[in-house]
Structures are given as structure tokens and as C-alpha cells.
């Protein structure tokens, strides 16, 4: 992942096209015209976009250098303008890198790179620089100190709107104390621009949401009204570096392929496919090329071979002035070669040509058959096969009977048995007439046809049949016939055009793209993705929301249109999260928060369609975003996140992605459901316990009163009723010492692992196995963690001085389930 190249191929590709078409006008004008697309359409929004670009840049720069990001964003008022300063603790930049970072606006060199990167806007920081320059007239100030450097470099930079190149206006070398930059290495970018704080909420959301998905980063934010710091979670590691992958043939568009063809070093299409795309090896390339041939050149129809005598006669007929013996041998060779090439007894024109070629070479020793002769032989044999165009007038008189028989057989095979035979025959004969070779047209002569043409033939024959025979010939029947014929037809051996020629042929490239789509190719690798991981999603939520419950899920990678993608979801519930109103949705694409167009986003729509009542959340009307103290977070990571529009604020509705979003959210919600269920049952248990804790003692008292006996002990009964874990501590005096018995009785239906700590003021001895003692400041901590199965009990015993006081505590068992009696 390069830190300074934010553009993700395609996006820049489109931008580039736009820029290219407007080269005649100035870059400033171009910017003005496209600012909506670039996220600078209003002063409020411009500030958000600039912050986004700068923060994304800073995160990428630090992560690339494997430094834990510490980023500060400051917005201050500066006269009529706002001043934005974003500082990171990255590796810093040198003077030489400046053009690379603030490279030509909207140009990306690696436009077809497939890698998950933050760059969503596809414009990078340079657009923000240009915006500030155009609105405030002030240059951007860049302060940087590289690692190990004693001095700080400060640049003032503008983008030359004539040639669209960055230009350094001022350059100063400062001591660290003189600069605004923090203690160590890093970069600070300051921009002054026309802006306002109307999008304050979005700005804060952006920072806060960024902190959620980047738990490894510390981000501090200050604006005229307030400031806050999102502290890093130091258990959260930096995201793994992603690998760049080449595009997958299923995920590219015509325009991209055109550009790739222009840029590639390969000469052959096969080589191009293998070097420029992922998951394409020799075999796959061959398959794509075959599919390309079928689309580009069409296939040739194969017809049944006549008997050997027929072929021999045709050969003999076509050859003049050669010794009869040689001709005989040649004819035999042709017969043999044709048989070798025939599939189901049928051959296509190019197979005839190849057979004749091979036969001529086979008999080279005896006689030479030159190219003219060979051509004549090919046409003669083809005429014998099709029954048309024979030079001699002898027995080949039955007009088109050969073709007709073949087509009848195909039509019969392709149509259902319900069809009237007479209708099928009539249809087949009409269809056969379309195949009659035309001598003038080389393709038609060879029966070389595109699939569309075959379909056209079938349609015309079928339409006519419907009209004349008053029969129905539906779409399925027609398609079956086409399929049957196309299956019989043979892919031609013509070489695909050279890459350089193809690049100039839009139609040809279209055929290639279609061929790539049609070919089965294994899914792209997912090493190019860097999901946050369920663990860190949870850590991020935990860091930014003080909730009672968190859950997260990461799905396995899936593929849509050649782009691998991963969906992750997280849920935080309860605690300090606002309980009034709807749940908060946090949407992310490639780790970047989406703050606009919530309603139009596939993420929102999927969440609205989930029946949240099943997950014990309130959802008025059973549809829509649920209510309550909930934060739902969804992250879509992909090499190419599909957005609804160029401004890239909302994920588009792609079924595969929507399915994964739903599964991820449901997975996280399942944990929430069981938590809420458990909470509810704990609450009930607590209520029950409260009532019973009132009733049982009263009952015991009354029973004692009526029977005139001392009050009975009801703890055991209570523990049993509550399915409780009962911990009882009893002592038995034995002279100066006492035997302490701690009994754990598990009345719950599940296994329990209670942790006991009994702090005594004298040294205990004779401990039960498994228990341990630690002394601290004259107190002895007796620790014991037995495993107690449902319905079982465990006993700890030790001896201690009689005058020792104690303090027994139990953890590891949920409060409402625990009864401790001393």
C-alpha cells in the first residue's frame, strides 16, 4: 500500500477520462465543474472532505511505515477562513517526494491496481490543496521531519493551475523548536480555505467513527467549539499490510481493458491475459482466447462427411495434370486426414483445409500439390460436403439434400417430441436453406457464423414456420436449436489479433471482455484485503462507546464481479449509549466512515429489512432501523467498493454484498440476542430471588412459631430454588485451632467454575489439594477454583487459628446465581 497514492485505479480512471476530455480548459475550471463529484460542493462539506483526505493520508503514511498512528486534527478560525492542520507521526517526507504526494491532480498511474486502500474519493490531498488555494489564495504549508533528522523542513506549496504541477514557493529549514511540528518525525499539512462548521456533527462523527475502525490509532480533534481525543487501544495491532493483486477478469470494464492493452508489454492476447490479470494461467488464457474467437470470428458449421468415394471423386475432380497414382494417394491421404479431424463424422471448412494441407505434405515425396491446387481441392471437397458449388454436373444434383439432412437431424434432436414431425421437417428445411454457402462471401461460403447470426437464422425459419404451418415455435425451442447448432459448430483456428491491433479495435476489446466474463475462472485471492477482524471491531466499539455488551463478526471473503470483498459487523448495546430513538449506524467502506446519504446506502437498507424483534430489540412496525441503546457498525472491505454515486457516500445495492452484510449483522445480532435473553432471565431471576428472599424467611419464622421450635435454616432451600450456587463456610473449633469447611453446592443446570478467595488473618494449614495460599502483609489469601458440575458439590478444608478473622469472597459466578453464607 503506498501511502501517497490514494487513488484506487478505476476511480481515478474515470477522473482521468474526465480530466482528459477537459484538457483544453484550466485545471481550476475543471475543479469548479467537478467539485460535486469531488466532495467540495459546499463550504461545509469541503471541510469534511479535506479532513477526510488528510486523515486518510496520515493513517496510510504511518501504517505504511508500521508506526502506530498518532494524528491530530485542528480546525481554527482565521479571519474569514478556516485553517485546517493535520499532523501525523509518520516517517515524514523529503523534498523529492513532494511532487509524488501532491502529484498531478486526479492522475493515478496504477489505475488498475487491485488492493484495498482507504482512497475513496480518488483525488487525494492535492484536491484539498487546490480547493484551499482557489478559495483563500493561500498556499498549503507542509512541515515535515524525517526519521533521524535534526532539522524540520517547511514548504509552502501551490498547484500551478496551468500545468497542474505542484510548485514549491517557499522552503525553510528549521530547528525542531522553531516549527509547529511535534517532538519526533512526522508531517503536518496546513490548509486555509473557505469553509464553515455547519457539518460539525458529520465532522465529529467522521473522527469518532474513524477511531472505531482504527483502534490502533490515536486521533485528537479540536475545533473552535470543542475538542476530544480518541485514544488508541494498545492491544490493537496495526492492520496487516495488504498485497496488491492484479485485476480479476470478471471484474474489469471495457475502458480499463482498453487502457491495459495500451499499457501492456505483451504482444499476444494470451500473454496479455496471463501477465495482467490474476488467476489466469495458460489454460485459462486459452479458454478465454477460444471464447474470444467464438465471439470475434464466429464458429464454422460442421457437416457430415460424404462417403470415401465421394471425397475421392471430389479430390480427383479438383486436380488436373497430375499422375493418377499420385492423385489416388493424395485422395486417400485426404480421406484419412478428414476422418481424423471429424467429430461425430462432421467437419468444418477449416478442418477440410487443414486436412488437405496435411495430405499434401504427406504425399510430398511422390508429388507436389501447390497452393492453387490445394485451394481447389479444399473447395471441391467442401462442395462435396455441402452439396453446393460442385464444378462437375454429374451426380451432385439433389439441391442441398446433404445440408438438409444434417439440419433435420439437429432440429429433431433439439425439439421436443411433442412437436409435429412435419412441422420440424418444414422448419429444418427452411433453416437449412440459410446455410447454403455463398461463393462471393468468404465467411458464408465457409459457413462461418456468429452466434447471433445463427439465432437470426433460427428466428427467421421459426417465424416462417409459425406463419405457414400455423405451429408455435417458442423462445426456448429456438434457443435449444441454436444451442444444438452452436455445439456442433467448431471454433476457428484463427489467431487473435495482436495486442497492439486489438487496442485500436473497440469492438474486438468488447469481445474480449465478454469472453473473459463467459469463461469460468477461479475467484480472486483475498490477500489484497485487510479486514479489521471481529476482535478489533469489538475493541474499536469498546474504545469509543461505553456499552454493556459488544459483539462483532467477520465474514469470509466473497467475490462479486471479480472483486473480492469482506463484510464485518459489530454491535454495541446498553451502557451510556443513547437509549432514546433509533440505533446509531456506523457505515464504513475500506475503513473509511461514510457520513452522508445514510438512507440511500445498501448497508442501511439491509439493516432496515432485518426483523430486529427476533433479536429482542424494539422495532416499531417490524421494519426499519431498530430503537434503543444500540450501535450497529458495518464495514465493507473490497478492492472495489461499489458506490451509488461518484461522491462515494453510500454503498450500492449489489446482491452478493447485501447478502454478506445481512449475514454479518445477523451473526453479531445473534450474540446480542442471547445476551439480551440472558439479561432478561437474570432480571427475572433477580426478581424471583427478591420475592423469595422475602417469603422464605417469613415462612421459616412462622413455621418456627407454630411448631414452637427455633427458626430453621432456609439458605439451602433458597439456593436450590434459585438454581443457585451455594457457598457455605462453616467452622469447627478444635482447641486453639479451627477447621474451616467451605462447601460449594451447585444447584444450577450448568457447570460452574467459582473462584473463591478467603482472606484470613492467620496462616492456614492442611489445605485441601488444589487450593493455594499467598501471604500479603500479614493476611493469607486462600485461593481455590474448583470445577463443580451441575448438582455436585465441592469442599475446601483448612485449619487456622481460632482467633483468625476471615473475609470470604466468590467471583466467577454471576451475582444473581450466587448465595454465600458465612
Amino acid at each position: 500500500m503506498t501511502s501517497f497514492q490514494q487513488t484506487l485505479g478505476e476511480e481515478a480512471g474515470i477522473a482521468e477520462e474526465l480530466a482528459e476530455s477537459q484538457r483544453a480548459i484550466s485545471i481550476a475550471e475543471f475543479f469548479e465543474k467537478n467539485k460535486q463529484m469531488l466532495g467540495f460542493d459546499s463550504e461545509a462539506r469541503a471541510l469534511v472532505t479535506a479532513v477526510k483526505e488528510a486523515v486518510d493520508n496520515a493513517l496510510d503514511a504511518t501504517e505504511e511505515a508500521r508506526i502506530r498512528p498518532n494524528i491530530s486534527v485542528e480546525i481554527t478560525e482565521s479571519g474569514d477562513y478556516y485553517r485546517l492542520a493535520v499532523e501525523d507521526n509518520g516517517p515524514g517526507i523529503t523534498r523529492e517526494q513532494i511532487p509524488k504526494i501532491f502529484g498531478k491532480l486526479l492522475y493515478g498511474s496504477r489505475f488498475h491496481a487491485r488492493e484495498q486502500s482507504r482512497g475513496q474519493q480518488g483525488i487525494g490531498i492535492s484536491a484539498a490543496v487546490l480547493y484551499s488555494q482557489l478559495t483563500s489564495g493561500k498556499p498549503a504549508k507542509i512541515t515535515s521531519r524525517t526519521k533521524g533528522s535534526e532539522t524540520v523542513m517547511e514548504f509552502e506549496l501551490v498547484i500551478d493551475t496551468d500545468d497542474n504541477e505542484p510548485e514549491i514557493r517557499e522552503e525553510r529549514e528549521l530547528t525542531p523548536g522553531e516549527s509547529d511540528l511535534g517532538d519526533t518525525h512526522g508531517t503536518r499539512i496546513e490548509l486555509e480555505m473557505a469553509a464553515n462548521m455547519r457539518a460539525r456533527q458529520q465532522l465529529q462523527d467522521y473522527i469518532k467513527h474513524t477511531a472505531v475502525v482504527n483502534p490502533h490509532a490515536t486521533i485528537s480533534f479540536s475545533e473552535p467549539n470543542q475538542e476530544f481525543v480518541a485514544k488508541a487501544d494498545y492491544d490493537a495491532d496495526l492492520p496487516e499490510e495488504t498485497e496488491e493483486i492484479r485485476p480479476h477478469p470478471h471484474g474489469v470494464e471495457l475502458g480499463n481493458v482498453l487502457k491495459m492493452l495500451k499499457a501492456t508489454d505483451s504482444h499476444s492476447v494470451s500473454g496479455f491475459l496471463q501477465t495482467e490479470f490474476t488467476r489466469v494461467g495458460r489454460k485459462t488464457a486459452d479458454n478465454i482466447v477460444d471464447a474470444f474467437r467464438d465471439r470475434h470470428y464466429g464458429r464454422e458449421m460442421a457437416w457430415s462427411l460424404p462417403d470415401d468415394d465421394g471425397v475421392t471423386a471430389a479430390v480427383t475432380e479438383a486436380v488436373n495434370n497430375k499422375p493418377a497414382e499420385a492423385v489416388g494417394a493424395f485422395a486417400d491421404q485426404v480421406v484419412g486426414e478428414l476422418d481424423d479431424r471429424a467429430v461425430d463424422g462432421r467437419v468444418a471448412h477449416h478442418q477440410v483445409a487443414a486436412a488437405v494441407e496435411a495430405a499434401a505434405e504427406g504425399v510430398e515425396a511422390e508429388a507436389q500439390f501447390g497452393s492453387t491446387v490445394r485451394e481447389n481441392v479444399v473447395e471441391g471437397v467442401w462442395a462435396a460436403i455441402t452439396g453446393y458449388g460442385a464444378t462437375s454436373e454429374d451426380e451432385e444434383t439433389d439441391d442441398g439434400a446433404r445440408i438438409r439432412d444434417d439440419v433435420r437431424a439437429h432440429a429433431d434432436a433439439a425439439t421436443s417430441v411433442q412437436k409435429d414431425d412435419a412441422v420440424v421437417v418444414a422448419f429444418a428445411d427452411r433453416l437449412a436453406a440459410k446455410f447454403v454457402p455463398e461463393a462471393e462471401d468468404p465467411d458464408l461460403r465457409r459457413n462461418r457464423l456468429h452466434r447471433d447470426t445463427v439465432r437470426d437464422y433460427v428466428d427467421r425459419a421459426a417465424d416462417m414456420t409459425e406463419e405457414r404451418e400455423d405451429a408455435t415455435f417458442g423462445d426456448t425451442a429456438r434457443e435449444n436449436v441454436v444451442e444444438e447448432l452452436w455445439g456442433t459448430m467448431v471454433t476457428v483456428p484463427d489467431d487473435p489479433p495482436k495486442v497492439s491491433d486489438l487496442a485500436a479495435d473497440r469492438q474486438g476489446v468488447g469481445d474480449l471482455v465478454a469472453a473473459m466474463r463467459m469463461t469460468d475462472i477461479i475467484a480472486p485471492p483475498t490477500s489484497c484485503l485487510s479486514p479489521i477482524s471481529a476482535e478489533l471491531v469489538e475493541a474499536g466499539l469498546r474504545k469509543e462507546f461505553d456499552a454493556e455488551f459488544y459483539s462483532a463478526a467477520t465474514r469470509d471473503a466473497e467475490v462479486t464481479a471479480g472483486d473480492p470483498f469482506v463484510v464485518e459487523a459489530g454491535i454495541a448495546y446498553g451502557g451510556d449509549i443513547e437509549a432514546e430513538g433509533q440505533a446509531r449506524l456506523l457505515r464504513y467502506a475500506n475503513r473509511v466512515p461514510l457520513v452522508y446519504k445514510r438512507g440511500g446506502c445498501a448497508i442501511t437498507q439491509v439493516i432496515q429489512d432485518i426483523g430486529w424483534r427476533n433479536y429482542n430489540l424494539d422495532q416499531p412496525g417490524g421494519r426499519g432501523v431498530p430503537n434503543g441503546p444500540v450501535v450497529i457498525m458495518v464495514h465493507v472491505a473490497s478492492t472495489n467498493v461499489p458506490f451509488t454515486s461518484e461522491s462515494k457516500d453510500a454503498v450500492a445495492s449489489v446482491p452478493e454484498i447485501e447478502d454478506e452484510i445481512e449475514l454479518a449483522v445477523r451473526e453479531a445480532a445473534r450474540d446480542l440476542k442471547s445476551y439480551l435473553k440472558k439479561q432478561r432471565s437474570m432480571r427475572k431471576r433477580k426478581q424471583k430471588q427478591n420475592v423469595l428472599a422475602d417469603i422464605l424467611p417469613r415462612m421459616a419464622t412462622k413455621v418456627a412459631e407454630v411448631t414452637g421450635r427455633p427458626e430453621p435454616n432456609y439458605d439451602d432451600a433458597l439456593a436450590r430454588i434459585m438454581n443457585n450456587v451455594l457457598v457455605e463456610r462453616e467452622t469447627k473449633e478444635n482447641g486453639d485451632s479451627q477447621t474451616v469447611t467451605v462447601r460449594i453446592e451447585n444447584n444450577a443446570s450448568t457447570k460452574e467454575l467459582p473462584e473463591l478467595t478467603d482472606i484470613v488473618t492467620a496462616e492456614p494449614s492442611n489445605l485441601t489439594d488444589g487450593a493455594s495460599v499467598v501471604e500479603m502483609d500479614g493476611e493469607w489469601f486462600v485461593k481455590w477454583q474448583p470445577e463443580v458440575s451441575s448438582g455436585d458439590e465441592a469442599v475446601l478444608e483448612y485449619t487456622v487459628a481460632t482467633d483468625a478473622s476471615f473475609d470470604l469472597s466468590v467471583s466467577g459466578v454471576e451475582g444473581p446465581k450466587l448465595t454465600v453464607t458465612n
Binding site: 420475592v691 423469595l692 417469603i695 422464605l696 412462622k702 411448631t707 432451600a717
Partner: protein
Amino acid sequence: MSTDTDADARQQLIDLAAEFYDQFERGDVPSMTLPTRTKSNIEYDEASDVWVYGDRTSTRSANSVRGARKLLKAIYTIEFLARQLDEDRSSTLRELYYLSESWDAEEAQFNGQDESNKLVEDLEIVSEVKREDFHMRPEESGATLIGPLELIEQTRRGERQIHCQQDVGEGGYQIPNNPDTIQFTDHDIDFVLCVETGGMRDRLVENGFDTEYNCLIVHLKGQPARATRRVTKRLHDELDLPVLVFTDGDPWSYRIFGSVAYGSIKSAHLSKYLATPEARYVGIRPQDIVEYDLPTDPLADSDVNALESELEDPRFQDEFWTEQIELQLDIDKKAEQQALAANGLDFVTDTYLPERLTDMGVL
């Protein structure tokens, strides 16, 4: 009122409390097991000819909040009853309900009188002591009887000797809440006639049916109170008198007969003590509606449901009742006792009863 019985009853209650005590001490969840008190758990006891609870039981356990509340109420009630016996006082079921308001534990207070009534019945069952022996009585004054019977009643104001025809007004002798406090001394009764409605009882008295036929007329007053059923049973058992039941001709009245003859579902634990299996049903029978062409009302849906449920009631599983109930469902009519007045005020005493009783071999 023997002190022996009181002491016994008291001891039974304390034993019950002691049972809870032991459960606590053993670390068990306190519980109380009772026969399931539903129709499906009623069985015919061949030895005594009455319907008693079957083997199915349900357990009230402190395991649930509901169960715990019930048991808490039980122990508070036990204490109250034990003290009442100790002090030789008595109270009504309703008083118990109101009294619970004064108990210190709010959870022990009754939510309604049904709950306290039912609890007392539960205690009767588990302690095998009758409510009357706890000195608990129902609210309503007992029903009355009139006829040639002489008895001695133990009252709080001493013994009273009463002739139930000569010493009483037209209202008759009022049956005390605990009829075991009376002793039959003499009689001239030929048969006992239990009558459901006040109107019919008054008609029979006005027409002098009791004097004419040496009949003891017992007023059931709708569903008969325990005391009424107990007196009836004692009249049959001790004086060896035939017992006849005369009610309206509808499903609810058949249940009245059922509880006199076989016992009720609620008090099946006392059937042996309350039920008179030899009692016979006089009418109004559905066949009477047809034969005497009585004025009728159509059956309501609830009547039909009740009749159908009676067809499955173990107490009505005999040829007579199956036939009559099916006939009634068939004609879809019901009639009141007083419908007999359609044939004149004296029709019941001059014609209907003499004919029916002759048919039944009583006269």
C-alpha cells in the same frame, strides 16, 4: 363440640407446619402435595359408592414465586387456625379473607375470597380435618328443613330440643353450620325430599305435603351447602330413610343432584362424609317436559356445553342419565320446577309427585 376433636385438629395443623420445618432443615424446597382437583381426577370409589379424588397429585412448591406465596399463605392460615382452635373461637371464610389483611407479611395476604376458600379446602385435604373442625364456617345461613323430625342441637347457649314441624314456623328448622352438633332423637318420616328452589319448597309446605306424606322437606337453596348435604347423608345413614331430589330440569340442577348423591369436584375429599349415593332423582326430567307438555325455555349455548360436559362427567355415567341428557339435547328445551303450575297450583302435590313417587316405589 368435643375438645378431643379440637385438639386433634390443632395437632394435625401443627404437624403440617412441622413438615415444612423439616423440609427447611433438610435443605429441601418446601412443598405440599395435593390430589389434582379436576374433573378428570375424580374416581368412583366402589367401597363407598361415591366419587373421590384419584391418584393424580399436584405439588405446591416454593420453587416458584406463585408456589412460595401459596405456601406462605398456608403457614399463616395454619397459625391462625391453630390459634382459633386454641381459643375455642370460630370465624367465617370471609372473615379469614379480611383477617389476612392484618397479617404483617404482605405476600401472605389473600387476593380474593376464592383463594382463601380454596386454601382452607387444601388444608382440609392435607390434614384430613374437616373445615368445620377448624371452626370455619361459610357465610350464608344454612338451608332449612321441615318435617316430622325431633332433634337436639348443641348450641353455644346450651342444648336445644326441637321438633322440626311443631316447634318451627313455616320457614322450618335452620340447619347449623356444623350439623354434627345435632342428634336425631325421634321421627315419623317416610322419606326425605330435597327441593332445589325456595318457591317449590314453599308450595309443598303450603299444600301440606310434609304432613300428608310424612315427608321431611330439605331446602337445597341452589347448590347445597356442605351442612345441608351432611344432614341429608346422616338422615339417610342414621335413620335409614330414602332420599329423593327434586330440582329444575336443566344441566345445572343435575349437578345439584350429582353433588348430593356423589359429591362435588371441589370437595371430593369429603365425599364419604357428605355424599348420599342412594339418593334418587325425582325430576324435572326431560321426559317430563315431553309427557306433561311443560312450558319451556330453549337451551342456551352454555346449557348445551354443560350437558355435553355432563355426558363425560364420571358421576353421570349411567343409563338413566345418558338417556335423559341425550333426550334433552334432542328436544333442545329446559323447564323449571314451577313450570308444573301450568297445570294448576296443586298439580305438583296432587298428581306429579304422588305419581312419580309411586313409580319409584317410595309411596
